[in-house]
Symmetry: C2
Amino acid sequence: MPAPTPDPAFMREAIRLSIEKMRAGHGGPFGAVIVQDGIIIARGFNQVTSTHDPTCHAEIDAIRKACAALGTFQLAGCDLYTSCEPCPMCLGAIYWARPARVFFGNTKADAADAGFDDHFIYQEIEKPLGERQIPMQPLLRDEALAGFRAWARHEGRTEY
Amino acid sequence: MPAPTPDPAFMREAIRLSIEKMRAGHGGPFGAVIVQDGIIIARGFNQVTSTHDPTCHAEIDAIRKACAALGTFQLAGCDLYTSCEPCPMCLGAIYWARPARVFFGNTKADAADAGFDDHFIYQEIEKPLGERQIPMQPLLRDEALAGFRAWARHEGRTEY
């Protein structure tokens, strides 16, 4: 069975959230919904400034709510509709959550034009550690590896 | 004043968390601490499988807790010590939170060897949209731009 055509009504709901929640003072103008079998199971919106949580982007909020609703840490078979192309943080979260498809409204260039740092972060991720604007250095790797060795031996582990 | 030398004791605390919390069943073997003025202000650890939250990596957990403790959405002047080199999601979160420095124990190659998908996600982020394993498509950009236009006109906005 081919994947269903994306439904513009779901994107319009993400866009509606991006405007309504921003006007209500929650944060930046970003909204997202997650859809399973034609039904919205989670609505997310940016709450960075109101909750003092720099990770509370619309997609992260929607992914956390959808996973809580389903009682799972992955979103197999779900579609994510977001009012803006995901930033690197949200893109990473999408790969961990693994929805089937992602649809986005504004592009990352639009976000940059509106004053959001997505493009800068995309550039930084591709740089070697030593050239990034936030210094990132290795430390005590030999000791840290004990964590992965303990994981390999841990009988109760749930892989993800 | 030069930045202080990184303190191995903080990395050892991140490593301790990575093992202790994993053994207690919270999730994968990852720990992190955030330090301000020589004091740990937040301890984070992976809780993906126990809380059904694919975004609850050690760094995200630590960043959220540190911001809550400080009542701010940025971590100026703070250092992040993490038991493993950040995945793309956490790297994005780090750029949004903007700590001064990041120190990591295990490398992303070590994480891949231990069965974690970080390397795959780094590869995907660099691909054009159409070549990614999770399909990502634009939809209704003209309508979505209304969110950014509304933001530009919104007098009460807090930029971040």
